[in-house]
């Protein structure tokens, strides 16, 4: 097993990301979905965490019959490109096929999900510079001070919203509260193996991690809550594997 990994690793090492991406695409077209997924995962391992790579990885996993892993890849792609129609459609489709219930975010979450983390950061940065310029003009251009004061207040509100977006994604990446169920599982009433099964969680279910207790996660899905073994799910924002 070790030797296989090393051989594959050396093969990846000689390919540029573009070549590896094309190789994965060819494998996908040839119906070798597992190999395609392996190649896309190699790109992710190289640090090429782009929406395109995660999206194609999701497709390969879905075709390979791994619905949970597909939803995980699509969700990671959606984190990077939350307005991409293809990603949204495939994520929904994969969840429909696995029987998972899609999450229902609050309206404020919808707002912050309209841009990704980098876009919110850029928006905050640009607004910060423009705000400083407008503040300088408001101070120095006394004849137009009233106008610039309104502009400054508007830009300040925009900056606060942008910082809210930055904080929202930062929280997702740091606290990692989102997880995808990889294998179908049941939420249990307690972090013990022989306890009561509260509700079923199909593969691809996106759950909210409330707390972590060793090898168990206390998760919530909608109004329901229960315990899941950590081995059954993967945090969306965790280090990719």
């Amino acid at each position: 097993m070790l030797s296989v990994t090393l051989a594959t690793g050396s093969a990846w090492g000689t390919l540029t990301p573009s070549e590896l991406f094309q190789k994965a695409g060819r494998a996908y077209d040839a119906g070798q979905f597992a190999e395609a997924a392996t190649n896309y995962l190699a790109l992710v391992a190289q640090g090429q965490r782009t929406p395109e790579v995660y999206f194609n990885l999701g497709n390969a996993e879905f075709r390979a019959g791994r619905g949970g892993a597909a939803v995980l890849a699509y969700r990671r792609a959606w984190h990077l490109a939350p307005r991409d129609a293809d990603i949204i459609a495939n994520l929904q489709f994969a969840q429909e096929q696995t029987g998972a219930t899609p999450p229902t975010p609050a309206s404020w979450e919808h707002f912050f999900q309209s841009l990704n983390a980098a876009e919110w950061r850029l928006a905050a940065l640009v607004d910060f510079w423009i705000l400083a310029g407008a503040a300088c003009l408001a101070l120095l251009w006394s004849a137009r001070r009233a106008l610039f004061r309104v502009v400054v207040i508007f830009l300040l509100v925009v900056l606060l919203l942008a910082l809210g977006g930055v904080g929202y994604w930062f929280d997702l990446q740091i606290r990692q509260p989102e997880a995808v169920v990889i294998q179908p599982a049941s939420a249990l009433s307690a972090p013990l193996v022989n306890t009561i099964k509260l509700f079923a969680l199909p593969a691809g279910s996106i759950v909210h991690i409330e707390s972590r207790d060793g090898a168990w996660w206390h998760i919530q899905q909608g109004a329901r809550a229960g315990w899941l073994p950590q081995s059954n799910c993967v945090a969306v924002c965790s280090a990719p594997n």
Binding site: S189, I196, L198
Partner: protein, 608 residues
């Protein structure tokens, strides 16, 4: 007129009195007997209260002849109340009962004759214990502290199953000592148990081993999450209330009255000392839910439940949604309850059920949950919605119970023209026809290793310091401008060299065109505007004499002062045609211009 009014008034009073009498006599006569406390020591007195309702002057109840008790009293108390227009009159007789012996003393039933009626006072039982060592005689025996107070844990019921709700009661008993009202539980982390908050029950007296104890009782709802033995051994920490010892023998006035005053007053208050109350550990066993007879879709509900369900509306078109509402009510672990959902079928398309109502008590164990599931009939054959089932384990019957509701009849009519047909999913085609995942995306434009480091690089953050710095600089500039606009003296001082330079430029142009009058006029303006602004003088005060006076007062060097005066006079003479032709020489004019420029430059360095 007055006579008629008087008659009317008298009539109204009579009617009111009749109504009052009718209300009084309409009420049935009833009696009630209560004795408190029911558990007491020999030598203590109990209070017997007999309340007579509906009779204004009842005779005293015949309690005087009670055997085994010394009876004193009664004291009588009458009360009249009107509630919702209904008058209630009650008379209360209070007796003091002092038992003569230990054991169980029966009081009543006693026949009580009120007027023509004979009523019966109910029978009660008093439990009388032996007096304590200090109870009556004042002699104090050596008593172990654990005999004076202890705590006990009990569960109800004792035969438990996994996930079954049960009551856990903590009882704290004490006698001859005072315990503070607050307690805390230490080492209270019962593994494998889900426990709600404790609530206190009314305090009472109990007889244990022939001794009378005050009992404080706390109860909570609990549930064992897994089967197996459970061992609970918490430490109950309370506070013993003791009288603070007197600091001084004898009162300050050496008088029994004042001694008692100081002993009972704020000067000698009680204090509390923490004490761990000995607690008997509680061990019990929790049985696993039986495998025998367990339904396949059992979801862990344990308790007693009922299921009702209905489908609304009862008539619809094919493709229109109908709602299946199911209500599960009862007592048990409601957090483990799941809705008995219907799955997709060839006849029905189903959606996830939603919890629409939750009516549970504060312990979340008694009440009801209502769920709704939206169903869409796919064809006219779906006239009957299948029954829904819910199962649970009944710990009292020790068996699984399967509840069901339905099937439900729905009158279906064909779908409206143009409505999209609903195809039934089949095993062969799990993916709906015409839908699939979107194809692969093309490669990104730029391959770049995802790195967050650029956002946290020192260079990035140092760049972000520029905007706030710019704002600070703008603020300083604006502040300076604001100061300048408010300080005339400072503003004119700043303006002085500029105004002089302007005038000198004008002079230079006049010199170039040999316009002597304008030239010397401009030179004079340069001097006047410079010194006028520099010294903040009104325009009319910039005369040679006035200027010399100011400069001398400012202790400017005499040579400079003299030179200013000479140049001003020169300009004035030239302006008014008192100069010879030598003064109108261009070279001489240039020297004068240069001299004035140098002079003003020198004055810029002089502090005025």
């Amino acid at each position: 007129m007055l006579k008629q009014f008087s008659k009317l008034w008298t009539g109204l009073l009579l009617v009111a009195a009749l109504l009052l009498v009718r209300q009084t006599f309409a009420a049935a006569v009833s009696v009630d007997l209560d004795v408190q406390p029911r558990v007491l020591q020999l030598g203590e007195a109990a209070q017997a209260t007999v309340t007579v309702h509906g009779e204004r002057n009842p005779p005293p109840p015949p309690l005087g002849g009670l055997p085994d008790c010394d009876v004193s009293g009664p004291s009588v108390n009458s009360q009249v109340s009107i509630i919702n227009g209904r008058m209630d009159q009650s008379v209360t007789f209070v007796y003091q009962l002092v038992p003569r012996r230990t054991g169980a003393l029966k009081i009543g039933p006693i026949n009580y004759k009120i007027g023509n009626q004979t009523l019966q006072l109910r029978a009660l039982e008093l439990t009388v214990g032996a007096p304590t060592a200090t109870g009556t005689s004042g002699e104090k025996k050596d008593t172990a502290l654990s005999d004076l107070f202890f705590a006990r844990l009990d569960i109800m019921p004792t035969n438990l199953f996994q996930n079954q709700l049960f009551e856990l009661q903590l009882s704290i008993f004490h006698r001859e000592i005072r315990l503070d009202s607050s307690f805390s539980l230490l080492n209270w982390q019962p593994a494998g148990l889900s426990i709600s908050a404790f609530r206190e029950l009314p305090a009472q007296r109990v007889m244990l081993n022939g001794q009378v104890f005050e009992a404080r009782q706390f109860r909570c709802q609990a549930r064992a999450l897994s089967a197996g033995p459970v061992h609970l051994a918490p430490t109950v920490r309370g506070a013993l209330v003791v009288q603070r010892e007197r600091q001084q023998r004898g009162g300050p006035f050496n008088d029994p009255f004042f001694d008692r005053f100081f002993q009972d007053s704020l000067f000698n208050r009680a204090e509390t000392r923490p004490v761990d109350i000995p607690t008997q550990p509680l061990e019990f066993s929790v049985r696993a839910l039986p495998e025998n007879g367990r339904p396949k879709d059992f979801n862990g509900a344990v308790g007693q439940f009922a299921l009702t369900a209905q489908v609304k509306p009862d008539s619809a078109a094919v493709g229109d949604p109908v709602t299946l509402a199911a209500r599960i009510s009862g007592h048990g672990n409601f957090d483990s309850i799941a809705f008995p959902m219907l799955g997709n079928s060839e006849l029905l398309k189903t959606y996830d059920a939603k919890l629409t109502a939750k009516e549970l008590d504060e312990t979340q164990t008694r009440g009801s949950k209502t769920y709704e599931q939206v169903l869409i009939p796919r064809s006219l054959d779906a006239q009957q919605i299948p029954a829904v089932g819910f199962n649970y384990f009944d710990p009292e019957k020790e068996q699984y119970v399967v509840l069901s509701a339905g099937p439900f009849d729905v009158k279906l009519r064909p779908a409206a023209a143009g409505a999209a047909p609903l195809t039934a999913p089949t095993q062969a085609a799990a993916t709906p026809t015409g839908r699939d995942i979107a194809y692969l995306k093309s490669a990104p434009t730029h391959w770049r290793i995802h790195d967050e480091a650029e956002w946290s690089a020192p260079r990035f953050w140092s760049l972000q310091a520029i905007p706030p710095l710019a704002v600070v600089v703008a603020f300083i500039l604006a502040r300076r401008r604001q100061l300048r606009s408010g300080d005339v003296r400072w503003a004119r001082r700043e303006q002085a060299p500029r105004s002089a330079r302007r005038a000198l430029r004008t002079a230079e142009q006049a010199l170039a065109m040999s316009q002597w009058e304008e030239f010397y006029e401009a030179l004079a303006n340069a001097l006047r505007s410079y010194f006028g602004n520099r010294l903040n003088l009104p325009p009319g005060d910039v005369t040679p004499d006035g200027l010399l006076h100011v400069l001398q007062t400012a202790q400017v060097a005499a040579a400079l002062t003299e030179r200013v005066r000479a140049l001003l006079e020169l300009c004035d003479h030239a302006r008014f045609g008192q100069m010879g032709s030598a003064a109108l020489d261009r070279e001489a004019g240039r020297r004068t211009l240069q001299e004035i420029a140098n002079l003003l430059r020198n004055f810029e360095k002089v502090r005025l």
